[in-house]
C-alpha cells in the first residue's frame, strides 16, 4: 500500500471519528443544559405542532433571514440548498449499487456545485464590501469561506477540467466502509479536494458550523408560547441528576 493511501485512510477514519464524536458530544451538551425560563421570540406558535412548523420553515427556507436581509438570504440559501444537492450527489461514492433516487438527482448536483460556489462568493464579497460585515468578520470567518470555496472549486475542477478516476475513488471509500482498504489514486486535484474535506470535517464540531445543530436547540425558536397554560419548570431540559441537585440547592 502506498504512503498516500495509508495517510488518506487514517485521515478519513480520524476525521469521521472527530466529526461524529464531536457533534454527539456537543448535541448531548445542548440537550442536557437546562432552560431556566420561557423565552420564545413572539409572536410564537402556542402548540408543539406549531413549533415544528416554525422550525421546519426556519431550517428549510431561512424565514428569519428572509425577513432580515434579502442579499444574505439569497446567497446563504443558494449555498445551503446547493450544498444539499452536492452532498446527495456524492452518495454515489458510498453506495453500490447506487440508489436510484441518487441517480436522479445526480445531474442536478453537477450544476449545484456552481450555485454553491456562487453563493459562497456572494457571502464572501459582503465581508469586504459591507462595512458593518467587514467590521464583524474575523480571520476564521474568511478562512471558513475560503475552505468551502476551495472544496467547491477542486470538485468542479475534477468535473470539468482534469477528470479523475472516479471508479478508483469509489473503490477507496467503499473500502474504508467495509474495512477492505483500496489504493487512493495519486491525483493532485483529487487529493487536495479530499484533504480539504477532511479538514472541514475536523473543524466542524469546534467552529461556528455548530449553528447546524444549534438552531434546533435555540429556545427562542423551539419553545411553544404557552407559559400560562403549562407551567415551565426552571430545571426543564436538565438531566435528572442536575435537576435533583438544583432542587436541593434552592430549598
Amino acid at each position: 500500500m502506498s504512503l498516500l493511501t495509508i495517510a488518506f485512510t487514517l485521515l478519513f477514519y480520524a476525521a469521521t471519528l472527530i466529526l461524529v464524536a464531536g457533534l454527539a458530544y456537543r448535541i448531548r451538551l445542548y440537550a442536557r443544559t437546562p432552560t431556566p425560563l420561557r423565552i420564545p421570540t413572539t409572536p410564537a406558535p402556542t402548540t408543539t405542532p406549531g413549533v415544528v412548523r416554525r422550525m421546519f420553515f426556519e431550517v428549510t427556507l431561512f424565514n428569519s433571514l428572509f425577513k432580515s436581509n434579502k442579499w444574505i438570504w439569497l446567497f446563504g440559501w443558494i449555498f445551503h440548498a446547493a450544498l444539499l444537492f452536492v452532498l446527495l450527489r456524492h452518495l454515489r461514492y458510498f453506495t453500490d449499487p447506487v440508489w436510484s433516487w441518487v441517480e436522479l438527482v445526480q445531474p442536478l448536483g453537477k450544476y449545484a456545485a456552481f450555485a454553491m460556489v456562487a453563493g459562497l462568493a456572494g457571502l464572501w464579497a459582503r465581508r469586504f464590501l459591507v462595512d458593518r460585515v467587514r467590521y464583524i468578520s474575523s480571520l476564521s470567518d474568511h478562512l471558513m469561506l475560503a475552505l468551502l470555496i476551495a472544496i467547491g472549486l477542486t470538485g468542479l475542477g475534477m468535473q470539468y477540467v482534469a477528470a479523475t478516476d472516479i471508479v478508483a475513488v469509489k473503490a477507496f471509500f467503499l473500502g474504508l466502509m467495509y474495512f477492505d482498504w483500496q489504493p487512493m489514486p495519486a491525483d493532485t486535484m483529487l487529493n487536495l479536494h479530499l484533504l480539504l474535506v477532511a479538514l472541514l470535517m475536523i473543524v466542524f464540531p469546534f467552529s461556528k458550523l455548530l449553528h447546524a445543530p444549534g438552531v434546533f436547540f435555540s429556545p427562542t425558536r423551539n419553545q411553544a408560547d404557552n407559559p400560562r397554560e403549562k407551567r415551565h419548570l426552571p430545571t426543564q431540559g436538565a438531566s435528572a441528576a442536575q435537576a435533583t441537585a438544583q432542587a436541593a440547592e434552592s430549598r
Binding site: 460585515v133 461556528k208 419548570l233
Partner: protein, 498 residues
C-alpha cells in the same frame, strides 16, 4: 440641553456607516456599596476578579441552554447588524447586536473553546482584563434587551440573554449599575421602584378618587390592601406618580368600576416592573415575583391583573408561573396573570362597556408596540394577540387611529430607547440617540396622516417619550396611556354630561 447633538430626522430610514468608538464614553453610574450588598453582590471590584468573572461565565453557560447555543452558533452573517436602534442612532459598530455579543463571546471562546484556547487571534478570542470589563460596562449598558435582533437572526440568537449574562457577571465581581440595583433594593424592601410607602400610596389613591368624582360625579374607588377582593392589580409604580401613567391608572379603575369587578392594589406588591430581569439575576427576579404571590395569598384574591407595562408583562406572562407558581389557589377560569388590556378587551367584546370614542376626537392616535410585549409575551388566546388586542382597545376608544410604517411596529417594533434598565439621566445621550428610529416613524405619520398622539403601553416607554420627544421637536404630552384613552371614552353609569 446637553453636550451632544440630537440626530436629525431623515425622510426615510438610512443605515449609517460605522463610526468606531462613537459611544465608547457612554457609561451609567456605578452602583454604590450598599446598593450592591443589598442584592447579595460584593460592594466593590473583588480580588482576582478576572478569574471570578471567567468562572461565573462558565456557570451561566452550564445553566442556560440559550446562552450556550447562542455563543456557539453565530456565523457572523451580518443579518442583525442594522437592526438595533442604538446602532441606527449612534453608528457605533459595537452597538450592532453581533458585535455586542462578541464582547462576551470573545471571552467565552478564550476560556471555554478549543479554538480560542489554542488559536485566540484566529477566532477573535480575548483574555478577560480591565479593558474588556470597561467595554462590557459601557456596551452592555447600551442594550435595552428589546429582542429585535432575535427576530431577524436565522438562529434566533437573542442579545438580551447575552447582555443579561454580562450584567450578572459584572454584578458578581462587584461592578453593578446604580440605577437598576438601587431600584431593585427599593422594590425588595419597600415594595415598589419609586420607594412609595403605604401611607403615601393610600394618600395618592384617595386624591385620585376625589379627582375622578370631581370630573365625572361618580364615586370610583381605588382600593388598597382590601382583603377579599376578587382581583389583585399589580401595576408599575409610575402609575401612582407621573403623567401620563396616572391617567392610565384612572382608566383601569373606571373599567373595573363600570364592569362591577371587585379589585384591590397591594402596598406590599405595589410594583409590576421586575428589574431583576434587566440584571440577569434569577434570584433577585424571583424575590420580586414572590412578593406578588404572597400578596395574592394574603389578600385572598381570585385573579391577578397587571397594569400597562412592558418588561413587567414579559416577566409576568412568561416567568411568573415558573418563578412563583403554581397559582392553583386562584380561579382556574382566568389565565394567570392577565393583562389589563385583556380584561378591557374581553369586556368590550361582551358589550359590557359603553364607549364614546368621540371623547378623543381631538387626537389622531398611533400606537407604539412595546418591545417586550410584542416580542416577549402574548395577550389573549391566539398567536399575535399582543399586537391585536391593544389596538382593538384603542380603536374602541377613539375614532382616529393610524399605524406607523409596518417595519417599525409589530414584531419588528423599535424600542423606545430607554428600556432594559437604561431609563436614567446618566444615559440621556444614549436614550435620545436610541429613540431615533421610533422618532422617524412617528415623524412619518405626523407628516402624512396628521398624527397628534403616541399611545404607549409601558411605563418605561411613557417616561422615555416624555423625556425625549422635545429633543426631536415634539411635545412631551404627545404620549398617552392606552387606558387614558379608555378613561376619556368610557361612559360611567350616572356620569354627568361634560
Amino acid at each position: 440641553m446637553a453636550d451632544f447633538e440630537t440626530p436629525t430626522l431623515k425622510p426615510y430610514p438610512v443605515i449609517p456607516a460605522i463610526e468606531i468608538g462613537s459611544m465608547a464614553h457612554s457609561q451609567p453610574f456605578v452602583a454604590k456599596e450598599d446598593h450592591q450588598q443589598k442584592l447579595g453582590f460584593p460592594g466593590e471590584l473583588v480580588d482576582d476578579w478576572e478569574n471570578v468573572a471567567v468562572k461565573k461565565l462558565g456557570e451561566l453557560v452550564d445553566k442556560s441552554r440559550a446562552l450556550r447555543v447562542f455563543l456557539d452558533s453565530c456565523v457572523k452573517c451580518g443579518a442583525c447588524t442594522d437592526k438595533c436602534h442604538y446602532y441606527l442612532g449612534t453608528s457605533d459598530p459595537k452597538n450592532m447586536p453581533v458585535a455586542r455579543q462578541d464582547l462576551l463571546r470573545s471571552v467565552y471562546r478564550r476560556y471555554y473553546t478549543l479554538a480560542g484556547k489554542y488559536f485566540p487571534s484566529l477566532v477573535g478570542a480575548r483574555d478577560m482584563d480591565k479593558s474588556v470589563l470597561d467595554e462590557w460596562y459601557s456596551y452592555f449598558h447600551q442594550c435595552s434587551q428589546c429582542r429585535r435582533c432575535s427576530v431577524y437572526c436565522p438562529y434566533g440568537i437573542d442579545t438580551a440573554e447575552v447582555s443579561m449574562a454580562a450584567r450578572e457577571i459584572m454584578d458578581t465581581v462587584g461592578v453593578g449599575q446604580k440605577y437598576c440595583n438601587e431600584i431593585i433594593g427599593k422594590a425588595q424592601t419597600i415594595g415598589n421602584n419609586l420607594g412609595l410607602p403605604e401611607p403615601a400610596l393610600a394618600d395618592t389613591l384617595e386624591g385620585l378618587e376625589e379627582d375622578i368624582e370631581e370630573e365625572t360625579g361618580v364615586v370610583v374607588r381605588m382600593p388598597l390592601d382590601e382583603e377579599g377582593a376578587d382581583i389583585l392589580l399589580v401595576t408599575p409604580s409610575a402609575d401612582f406618580f407621573a403623567e401620563p401613567h396616572v391617567d392610565g391608572l384612572i382608566g383601569y379603575a373606571k373599567v373595573f368600576h363600570q364592569a362591577g369587578l371587585s379589585w384591590t392594589l397591594s402596598s406590599y406588591a405595589s410594583e409590576a416592573a421586575n428589574f431583576g430581569m434587566f440584571i440577569g439575576s434569577y434570584d433577585n427576579m424571583q424575590k420580586l415575583a414572590l412578593r406578588i404571590r404572597e400578596a395574592a395569598l394574603e389578600l385572598g384574591v381570585k385573579r391577578i391583573v397587571f397594569g400597562e407595562c412592558g418588561h413587567a408583562w414579559r416577566v409576568a406572562y412568561n416567568f411568573l408561573n415558573t418563578l412563583a407558581g403554581p397559582f392553583d389557589f386562584l380561579d382556574p377560569d382566568y389565565p394567570v396573570p392577565q393583562h389589563i388590556c385583556e380584561v378591557t378587551y374581553d369586556l368590550l367584546q361582551r358589550g359590557a362597556l359603553k364607549m364614546d370614542p368621540s371623547a378623543n376626537d381631538d387626537m389622531v392616535v398611533t400606537f407604539h408596540d412595546s418591545c417586550n410585549i410584542a416580542r416577549g409575551s402574548r395577550m389573549g388566546d391566539f398567536e399575535g394577540g399582543q399586537l391585536v388586542i391593544p389596538r382593538a382597545v384603542i380603536k374602541a376608544s377613539c375614532n382616529h387611529f393610524v399605524d406607523m410604517p409596518a417595519d417599525a411596529i409589530g414584531e419588528g417594533t423599535f424600542c423606545c430607547g430607554g428600556g432594559g434598565g437604561l431609563l436614567t439621566d446618566d444615559l440621556v445621550e444614549l436614550r435620545v440617540k436610541g429613540a431615533l428610529p421610533r422618532m422617524e416613524a412617528l415623524h412619518e405619520v405626523t407628516e402624512h396622516h396628521g398624527v397628534t398622539h403616541l399611545a404607549a403601553i409601558c411605563a418605561i416607554c411613557k417616561s422615555q417619550f416624555s423625556k425625549i420627544l422635545p429633543y426631536y421637536g415634539f411635545e412631551m404630552d404627545q404620549v398617552v396611556s392606552i387606558h387614558q384613552l379608555v378613561s376619556n371614552a368610557i361612559q360611567l353609569d350616572g356620569q354627568q354630561a361634560q
